[in-house]
Amino acid sequence: MPNTQNAIRHPLALDVADLTVAYGEAPVLWDIDLQIPEGVLCAIVGPNGAGKTTFIKAVLELVPKAAGRVLVLGTPYRRQRRRVAYVPQRGTVDWDFPTTALDVVTMGTYGRLGWVRRPGAKEKADSRAALEQVGMGDYADRQIAQLSGGQQQRVFLARALVQDADLYLMDEPFQGVDATTEKAIVTLLQDLREAGKTVLVVHHDLQTVPEYFDWAFLLNVRRIAAGPVDEVFTDATLRAAYGGRVPFQASNGAVSGSARLGTEVDLAQSSTSSPESPS
C-alpha cells in the first residue's frame, strides 16, 4: 500500500489536469483531474460509455483533447513513448491477420528499434521469454486466429511486457479470459507493481476490484473519485458513478465461475464429474 507522503515526493506516473474530450458536440470526458503516483495498480471503473477507453486513448494522444494537459512520468507523452506500454481491447484488431503469436509479441520491440532496423535474435529471445511469462510459450508459432480469446489477450499482454515500460495502460485485459488465466494475469500485474511499475487497467468486474487493485479511478464522463481502493471504493462513490444501479453489492456472495456455463454443460458435468459415487 503506497503511503501518501511517498506519493507526493516521487514524480507522478500520470498527472492529468482539466482533460476534456468531445466527439462532435457531446463531451465524452469532462474536466478530468487525476494524479496517479508511481508504483500502484489502479483500476479504471465506470459504466458503459463512461469514457474509460477514451481516457486511455486521450493519454496516448490517440484521440484529440478539446482541453487539458496530460503529463506522463513528469513530461508530455511525446517524450516518454518508450516508457509507456498500451494493451488495446482485443476486439480492435483483425485476428485473421496473417501472423504468428511470436510475431505479434515482437512488435513490442519495434518502438525501441526505431525505423528500418529489423528485430534480431535478442528481440526474438525477449519476445519468446515474454510469451513464456504469460504461459503461452507453446503457442509461439501458432497463427493468431487459431488462439482462443483468452490466449489472444495473453499475447497482447506479452507484447506489452516485452516493451519493458514504466507505465502500462490496459483496456479490459480480462475480457474473454477464464478464471484461472485471470488469476495468473493479476499475479503478473502485481509483480509489475512490486517492480515499481505503474499499471492502469480498465476493469469491469466490480466484485474483484478490492481484491486485485490497490488504487481505483471511478469515472463517468466526469471524475467521480480516485485514490486508494479502501478510501474511494465505497457505496456512495459507486452509486455516483453508476447512477444508483450498482451491479455489485459488498454483501453479495462471490459469483461462481460455473454461472457462466450453459445449463447443458452443467448437466454434462454433473453426470460425468461424479462417476465413482453411485457405483
Partner: protein
C-alpha cells in the same frame, strides 16, 4: 520471326513486372481494408493520362505515367478529405471520386480525339489495357518504378506490418501512422501507374486484390502472403498478356483478370485449412465425432443412472436420446470397431473399459475448452 519473339519477350517481361508489383503492394492495401481505394485511384488516373498527353502533344511514357500518378494521388487525397470533412462514409466517397474522375477522363478522351493534328491512337487502350503496345522504354520505366516501390516496401516492412495489424499500437510506440498511410497510398499509386497501360483503368483493381486474396488462402505469415501474391500476380500477368498478344484485338486487362480469377477460384476451393473443400471435410469429420461422442455419452449417462457402468442398454433407448436416431446403429458399429462398446444379447450395447476411459477424456477436454 525474331521481331515477333522480341515483342513477345517485352510483353511478358512487362506483364511480370506489373504482376509482381501489383500483387505484392495490393496485398498491403487489402490487409489495410483499402481494397477499393485501388479501384478509385486507377479510375482517377485516366484524366491525368489524357491531360498529360494534351500537354505534351505526344505519348512519352514518363509524361503519361507522371500524369496518371498525380491524378491518381489527387483521387486518393479527395477520398480522404471527403471522409474526414463530411458525413459521407468511405464506400460512398470511393464511389463519388471514382465516378467524377473517370467521367472527366472519358470527356477529355473524347475531346482529345477531336483535336486535329494530334494522334491520340492508343490512348483509349488505357481503358482496358493493351500489352501488345508495350515497348522496351515502357518496360524500363515500369521496372524502375516497381523496383523503387518494392524497395520502399522492404525497407519499411516492420512499420507497414504494425500499421496494418494494429494502427493504434503503432501510434503508441511512436510511428507516425498518418505518414505511413501516405506511404502506403503512394506505393499503391505507383503500382497502379506501373500496370495502367497493360491492364487498363477499369480492371486494374482486380490485379491488386486478387493475388493477395488468393495468397492469403495458402500462407499464414505476412511475408508468405506478400511473396505468394507477387508470384500469383506475375503468373496471371504473363499468361494474360501472352494470350492477349497472341490473339489479335483481344484486350489485355480482361484476359489478365480472368487468369487471376482462376487462381483465386482454385485457392478458395482447394487451399489446405482455409479452402472450402478442406473446411467441408472438417465439418463432416467434426459432425461424425460429435455423433460418436454423443452416443457414447448417452450410453454413459444411462449406465450412471442405473448405477452399473457395465450394464447394457438397447439401441432403441439410445435412439430416443438423439435428434438423428437413424445414425445410432452405424455409430454404434463404428464404436464397436474402436473397441469402446460391445454388443450384449440381441439388441443390447454396453461400454467397455476403453470406452469408459474415452468418455471421461472427452468430458475433461470439454471442461478445458469452456
Amino acid at each position: 520471326m525474331i521481331e515477333f519473339d522480341y515483342t513477345l519477350r517485352i510483353v511478358a517481361l512487362g506483364a511480370a513486372v506489373l504482376g509482381v508489383t501489383a500483387g505484392a503492394l495490393g496485398t498491403f492495401a487489402v490487409l489495410r481494408g483499402q481494397s477499393l481505394l485501388g479501384d478509385a485511384i486507377a479510375h482517377a488516373a485516366l484524366p491525368g493520362v489524357v491531360l498529360a498527353f494534351l500537354a505534351m502533344g505526344a505519348k512519352a511514357p514518363l509524361g503519361l505515367a507522371l500524369g496518371a500518378g498525380v491524378a491518381g494521388w489527387l483521387g486518393a487525397l479527395a477520398v480522404g478529405s471527403v471522409v474526414r470533412r463530411s458525413r459521407v462514409p468511405l464506400d460512398a466517397a470511393l464511389g463519388i471520386v471514382l465516378a467524377v474522375f473517370f467521367g472527366i477522363g472519358l470527356v477529355l478522351l473524347t475531346f482529345a480525339q477531336r483535336i486535329p493534328g494530334l494522334n491520340p491512337a492508343g490512348l483509349s487502350d488505357y481503358l482496358f489495357g493493351q500489352a501488345a503496345a508495350l515497348v522496351a522504354a515502357d518496360v524500363w520505366l515500369m521496372g524502375i518504378l516497381g523496383g523503387l516501390a518494392l524497395l520502399a516496401m522492404a525497407v519499411c516492412w516492420k512499420e507497414l506490418k504494425v500499421l496494418l495489424f494494429d494502427p493504434d499500437f503503432a501510434h503508441s510506440v511512436g510511428f507516425p501512422v498518418r505518414a505511413l498511410d501516405v506511404l502506403l497510398t503512394t506505393l499503391l499509386v505507383i503500382s497502379i501507374v506501373v500496370g495502367l497501360q497493360t491492364v487498363g483503368v477499369v480492371l486494374m483493381s482486380a490485379i491488386l486484390i486478387a493475388p493477395g486474396a488468393a495468397a492469403r488462402q495458402w500462407s499464414n505469415t505476412l511475408g508468405g502472403v506478400v511473396g505468394l501474391a507477387a508470384v500469383f500476380g506475375a503468373v496471371s500477368g504473363v499468361s494474360g498478356a501472352l494470350i492477349s498478344a497472341a490473339i489479335p484485338r483481344l484486350p489485355t486487362g480482361p484476359t489478365i483478370v480472368l487468369c487471376a480469377s482462376a487462381i483465386v477460384a482454385v485457392s478458395l476451393l482447394a487451399a489446405p485449412g482455409r479452402g472450402l473443400i478442406a473446411r467441408w471435410i472438417e465439418t463432416l469429420r467434426s459432425r461424425r465425432t460429435l455423433q460418436t461422442v454423443g452416443v457414447l455419452e448417452d450410453l454413459y449417462t444411462l449406465a450412471l443412472r442405473h448405477g452399473d457402468l457395465a450394464k447394457e442398454h438397447p439401441a432403441a433407448t439410445l435412439q430416443t436420446m438423439t435428434a438423428r436416431p437413424e445414425r445410432v446403429q452405424p455409430t454404434l458399429r463404428a464404436l464397436e470397431a474402436k473397441g469402446w462398446v460391445r454388443p450384449v444379447g440381441d439388441d443390447g450395447w454396453a461400454l467397455t473399459d476403453d470406452g469408459l476411459g474415452a468418455v471421461r477424456q472427452f468430458a475433461r477436454n470439454h471442461d478445458r475448452e469452456t
